[in-house]
Homo-oligomer: 454 residues x 2
Amino acid sequence: MRQYNIELEPHRLPDHWYNIAPDMPGSMDPPLHPGTMQPLNPDDLAAIFPMGLIQQEMSTEPQIAIPGEVMDIYRLYRPTPLRRAYRLEEALETPAHIYYKNESVAPSGSHKINTAIAQAYYNKAEGISSMSTETGAGQWGTALSIACQMFGIACQVYMVRVSYDQKPYRRALIQTYGGNIMPSPSDTTDSGRAFLKDDPNTTGSLGMAISEAVEVAAKSEGATKYGLGSVLNHVLLHQTVIGEEALLQMAKVDEYPDVVIGCCGGGSNLAGIAFPYYGDAKRNGRSIEFIAVEPTSCPTLTRGHYAYDFGDTAKITPLLKQYTLGHNFMPPGIHAGGLRYHGVASQVAHLVREKAFKAVAVPQNPVFEACVLFARTEGIVPAPETGHAIRAAVDEALKCRDSGEAKTILFNLSGHGHFDMSAYEAYLSGKLTDIELDDAVLDAAEAMIPQVSV
Amino acid sequence: MRQYNIELEPHRLPDHWYNIAPDMPGSMDPPLHPGTMQPLNPDDLAAIFPMGLIQQEMSTEPQIAIPGEVMDIYRLYRPTPLRRAYRLEEALETPAHIYYKNESVAPSGSHKINTAIAQAYYNKAEGISSMSTETGAGQWGTALSIACQMFGIACQVYMVRVSYDQKPYRRALIQTYGGNIMPSPSDTTDSGRAFLKDDPNTTGSLGMAISEAVEVAAKSEGATKYGLGSVLNHVLLHQTVIGEEALLQMAKVDEYPDVVIGCCGGGSNLAGIAFPYYGDAKRNGRSIEFIAVEPTSCPTLTRGHYAYDFGDTAKITPLLKQYTLGHNFMPPGIHAGGLRYHGVASQVAHLVREKAFKAVAVPQNPVFEACVLFARTEGIVPAPETGHAIRAAVDEALKCRDSGEAKTILFNLSGHGHFDMSAYEAYLSGKLTDIELDDAVLDAAEAMIPQVSV
């Protein structure tokens, strides 16, 4: 009897997040204050984040306990299933064993809610009654809306205008979950008004929306705090519940991955599946190949600069050491909106820099080809972002077919694609183009990266 | 520790479907041949269904074994979780215990795939390489497409034209799953051409699409068979895996329902959750209130006639004894497309007639109110059809709040609403109207019900 789904018993839900900070190779460069360009103090962040999250951001403890109130809401959908992709393996005629962690079963349909619940909890615990955030493709705005709803906190979502206009159903979803949504740039913030003055017809960008959401928190005198859906250490930390579960589930079927794969925009879903395995392999002297997969149209890790840069367009966020295409890089309009960010988490960047993680870039047509194959074999329509991880997993499995190796491949199925069917429609009707950026385009954007010497 | 999800161990997946036929109260009137108006023989159905399904349609065995090949694909998503709606109970301040069977986790997002897999299997087993079907809202066309894909069978879907035009994403989903989709009425069938001749601008109806899909099978000389997503005995039979699992899961937490609720269009998801409990209660001398919930805008069970009627508009299907609004009744354009059928399964109709099941009708605004409350508390956005069951469950729970009774309420969460966000958008912006049909409208449609004396 095939056991497709390897479930974890409810009482075995991990009670801690894994903190990679003490396990990091080499030493990491600290975040910098955007005004002084000096290393950031915890207090510098207090205007926009609650202290519980700032402590996690800077923590060097190897594990951080998950609060009971967070565990309680995690139990609505966690542990998520680990699935053996038998039917995909058959279709590929590969001797590889392919496993995926199915985060698409989460409320809001992606891993994003793992940190949204934690962020809403820590804000609520410090008496905050309102959060602001930005969203591009919409997954993060959806997740934070439902999480805030569950803790009785108001949620203000700045949605990149082009997505706001093009995705009425995503908008309706956020509203159904109780979020208050505003197209960005808007006239409700100084930065928004400045962007609109520059270009009244701008379609907006994630960098602009971040500027607006951060400004709302910074100017609220403590009433509103800001929530970010990726990039920061504490966000990556919250996602490690994914990999902590996967470790227990893989052990149940006596498997250990040779390859661990995640798609990579800001880096949080990759970190979620990969960091706990990184720590486990290090402790137990095992070897795993970690692969971060990004689009060729936004090649942060494979073609970006390793440098300090801002997280937003208005340059009001701290500077993080990272791979970056430049903070005002405007990526082409590909369908994996969650992978269109100019930068990446410092922790992920550092691991790539240290060659502990490998980065690959793939074009969107091969991604959708893998998505359709996956849907037809495994029954789940993946998000285009997730499709990048599937593409890489398929490529690894095909290498195994050629070599005869029976590698064990694990990837993170970070979300479903139910709100991305226009992308599937475009792919199925042959309308998608694969984009390879000119060096000149990248050079122009990278020229805007600030010169910093610490 | 709250245990929201009551999982069933994979090895306890039921290995049989429950057949209600031998447990039926009273005696049932047989289906009739549409030409002779005489009781149907198995051979009369052989042109459109494989013999394996025809045998199930007429079986009086109390249980029917689920074939291993079907079990194998069921294991991709089954057993589905049974969930205790703690957070909904809290929001309602009710002493009631509310449970729901979460069929929304199935590939394609609804219970429909439970029978689609079985139908594809029995067709494949008899050497059929192609199936035809109709779809209205799209759930059934999606389910049969992925099921056919898994057995290597071609799938031709006639989609009601108004849905085909209004729901490009549902169309893309069916194509992603490998289905071949055609708006109905089309010029590919005699019945389609006749409908178009009557009215070239017709928006189509489920009755018309059934006529086309049945015609394709009937004229294919055995190459193509037809698949129906509800109404027939064998379809209801395949759905009983839902209730069989629920029996085992409720027993794990030592609960037995006082009330079992399902929304009711053709009747298959209601039957899936309710029939096994009907049989169990009968065997064990227990008492359960069964509630079928339909929209006030298509009030088949609450305001229809109990009579023989056709299943389709062109009158080429067998006549079934049922509650019916008349086979050419055109329901108003409400958002629960799956509940817009003029008739209902004979078995469900018989149980309502015998007062073993109760029927209630609810308007769409209160349904969406319950949907939004459910999304915000339980995290899942339900399909509008499913919202009817939720509305009734909420109403029962509110009665318990008033009376102080701690009833145990079980309903079937038949599907998610990810492809129905336009309906949520309409509700949230106050654009939905509640429809109460005039007697004159119903009388006119019911005048078309054939006069049959057996």
